[in-house]
Amino acid sequence: MSLSAFVLRRVVRGIFTLWLVVTVVFFALRLSGDPATLLLSDSATADDVARLREQLGLNQPLPVQYATFFSRVLLGADFGQSLQRRAPAGAVVAERIPATLTLALAAFALTILVGIPAGIAAAVRRNTPLDRLAMTGALLGQVTPNFFLGIVLVLVVGLWLRWLPTSGDATWAHLILPALTLSAYGIASMARLTRSALLDVVRKDYMRTAHAKGLSERAAISRHALRNAAIPVVTVMGIQLGHLLGGAVATEIVFAWPGVGRLAVQSIFLRDYPVVQAVVLTIAGVYVAINLLVDVAYGWLDPKIRYT
């Protein structure tokens, strides 16, 4: 099928998925508990609570609330007011996005800039101590829970050596440890996959031809192998970016990074419905978008995959 048809199908599925997620979250929140009592202090009367519920529109029947919510979101990206902060929920989420974005991009950059060269180096010097070391490190990186890695970094780098700060995002130095923590799994995966993809290509016949022609190993790799190994590696990069979102939650909590993941956890506990909805929609939206992009890229690179 044509690329555009393929893309269209994917987009429709993505939208439908998003809708499903947001709807489920909406109803789950409403059925779970009453935020009005959580919001008011101990001195509030029953009347105060009732009045607040009315103000917040919590008295309406659920379908009505849902319809109101949906129309507002679609028309003006209006998620209502944060129940806690009394500021627009969308704004509350928006102000945290840059922090998570910075963290995710930094981690992604590390994944590519460290993982791929490491994989290449390991492949080029396969079976040497360097290779073994790199692969050992990669294995370690894949089995270490990211929150534990974060804690160890806080302990060793932040508390014992006091080389770097470990809480918040006040300066650029604050970004280093969280980015390292978040990217560890990705670097490890990327290194291993790059190595294997490269090695596979290296064995192909045309590589033997290149050798026979007298090209050095290095030239052969850079001229032929890399290009062919790129396809699977590029695909996995997309997957990694999606994974960063999930890992960001724990990382943000360990390093008190003021991002969206941390906001999600806090607002779920506070039953701050509008913010939870906005956050869920944002995270799901980004996830779906990334998956979409990866699918499209994959479909473009490998037309046979489109036959679905």
């Binding site: 008011l40 806690q84 073994r132 050992t136 060793v156 508390l159 918040g168 003021p258 506990f269």
Partner: protein, 572 residues
């Protein structure tokens, strides 16, 4: 990808080495080093005249001019000349806090984390001088007098400016209290001023505050939570929602910016009516993790840290560049019970629970002995304190006997606590749960991260939760009545409904006879102990870490007072 055998072997040996390395690699100093400076920073009251002596010695020395040159506080706080820009002025005082409030609302963010930040931004009509025996001194009001039993007249200070440049007038005072009493507002402050009738503007610098019934504590209330004066014109212009995110007051520091979960920045206000404070800028940085917060202090990343747990006090004291200031809080950690939950219906069960708690043991273990088990529900030095009242009894045998007598059949008790809101809250909860299990109670603990943990959630049959009682007025009315009385949700939700207690409390707040009030409160304390709607645990010692060169005194209430008389910067 299959790693081969040698990789696996290497991997396992690396793991082993890692473990050994971590074990052997000790942190900088496990044992506290001998103190280099025996200077004890524990004198509570800093006489405001002391620094003046320093100013005399080095008047024009550019390299070490004393900020105290301007510390000439007068009785009426006349504005002094601005301090000369000097190396002693701290450009940015960074304070690491463990939690931040939702907004900066003077009527609603009155928890510990909120009042700390509100104090430098706003002023009160009357100030409670914590450094001088809790005397009430003039602040925005220069004088006051009781016109009659129900009315208090105050004269306002002239020439006071808000951060937006407008002048303070009686209209602002009236607006402030109208805002507090507004029935449509979500304000917690209303609970502090239930007796308030209203404010009358007599002339631009005179107001009259009227109460519904005689109030023996009106002046204390005006010097306490919620009574910070806000600018009428500005609030009306920007709206309340915007105002509580970017407040404007008359205090020595004005709001600059607030990055949530990151930091709040305040700059010195040049038009401040009283003498200028020492720090040019204050940054409140949020570092919720204890270990990280302490490390930030030790490394110099921050200047002051709050919520220093007793376990870490030694570390900070031992370090050469830092010191510790501690103060017993006017706050008690308590437990509160839902007396209508199936397990706790019988008062004997509740009394047994109270008897089973080894409070001294908790203090020894969790607070290194630095907390205090109070006498009943009273604070030393405050109204109602009686040294002859015994501390809560610890008697597990009696507890078991009571449980048997009550026929306790194993009904489950659900105890919910937050892991970080109260210092040592989780640890105390776990320890108390064990103590209760030892006497035969069935208890289930839930540790849930929650920003505001002062609510008992009816769903799920929750029976016990942590709480704290801050004595805001130096009087049982401020905590015993406010928290446990009929106007609080605790009673309103039916967790406790004591008739005699309520009757007595109402009486005590509206009579001016202090002897009779004392009698009433003693009886109310007795009821609290006998009826056991909860129990007092201990009065915590609150510790702060400071870098050397910062002379700041913490208060028994969580205010962060950075005004000139309380925060001084000596040689960096």
């Amino acid at each position: 990808m299959t790693p081969n055998r040698s990789v696996t072997r290497r991997l396992l040996s690396i793991l082993l080495l890692l473990a050994i390395a971590l074990a052997a690699c000790q942190p900088q100093s496990a044992a506290p080093a001998p103190k280099a400076e025996p200077v004890a920073k524990t004198d509570a009251a800093k006489p405001t005249s002391a620094p003046a002596a320093k100013a005399d010695t080095k008047p024009a020395d550019a390299s070490k001019p004393a900020t105290q040159a301007d510390a000439q506080p007068t009785a009426t706080g006349k504005p002094e000349t601005k301090p000369a820009a000097s190396a002693m002025q701290k450009d940015n005082l960074v304070v690491a806090i463990a939690g931040e409030p939702t907004n900066l609302d003077t009527t609603n963010d009155l928890g510990n984390v909120g009042v700390r930040l509100l104090y430098p931004i706003f002023d009160l009509l009357i100030r409670r001088d914590f450094l001088d025996g809790n005397k009430l001194v003039p602040s925005l009001a220069t004088s006051w007098r009781r016109v009659d039993d129900l009315t208090l007249e105050l004269k306002l200070r002239d020439g006071v400016l808000f951060h937006d440049g407008s002048k303070l007038t009686a209209d602002d005072v009236k607006f402030t209290f109208d805002r507090i009493l507004d029935p449509n507002a979500r304000g917690e402050a209303r609970g502090y001023f239930l007796n308030l009738e209203g404010v009358q503007v007599v002339d631009p610098l005179t107001v009259r505050i009227a109460t519904k019934a005689p109030d023996p504590l009106l002046e204390q209330r005006l010097a306490s939570y919620g009574a910070w004066i806000v600018p009428k014109v500005h609030v009306e212009k920007v709206g309340n929602e915007a105002f509580i995110q970017a407040p404007v007051g008359t205090g020595p520091y004005k709001f600059v910016e607030w990055r949530r979960e990151s930091q709040l920045v305040l700059d010195r206000f040049d038009g401040y009516w009283d003498q200028a404070p020492a720090a040019k800028r204050i940054t409140f940085r949020l570092i919720p993790e204890t270990a990280t917060r302490v490390a930030a202090l030790l490394s110099g990343e921050v200047d002051i840290i709050t919520n220093l747990p007793p376990d870490q006090v030694e570390t900070v004291e031992a370090n050469a560049g830092t010191s510790v200031r501690s103060v017993p809080l006017a706050n008690a950690h308590v437990l509160r019970y839902n007396v209508n939950s199936p397990a706790l219906k019988d008062v004997r069960v509740r009394r047994a629970m109270n008897l089973a708690i080894d409070r001294e043991g908790l203090v020894r273990a969790l607070w290194r002995g630095k907390a205090t088990v109070p006498r009943g529900f009273t604070f030393e030095g405050e109204f109602g304190y009686d040294p002859s009242r015994p501390t809560p009894e610890f008697n597990p045998d009696k507890a078991r006997a009571l449980l048997q007598e009550a026929g306790y059949a194993g009904e489950p008790i659900v105890y919910r606590t937050s892991p970080t809101y109260y210092s040592n809250g989780r640890q105390a909860a776990e320890a108390i749960v064990e103590m209760w299990k030892k006497v035969g109670l069935t208890v289930q603990l839930e540790v849930i991260e929650q920003a505001a943990n002062t609510q008992i959630d009816e769903s799920g049959g929750l029976s016990v939760s942590n709480w704290s009682a801050t004595s805001t007025l130096g009087d049982p009315d401020g905590y015993l009545w406010r928290n446990w009385g009929p106007d609080n949700n605790h009673q309103k939700r039916g967790y406790w409904q004591p008739e005699e207690f309520n009757q007595l409390g109402r009486e005590a707040r509206t009579i001016l006879d202090q002897t009779r009030r004392n009698q009433i409160y003693q009886r109310m304390f007795d009821i609290f102990e006998q009826d056991a709607p909860g129990t007092v645990l201990y009065i915590p010692l609150e510790s702060y870490g400071l870098r050397k060169g910062i002379d700041w005194t913490p208060y028994p209430i969580y205010y962060f007072d950075a005004r000139a008389y309380n925060l001084k910067l000596t040689a960096p």
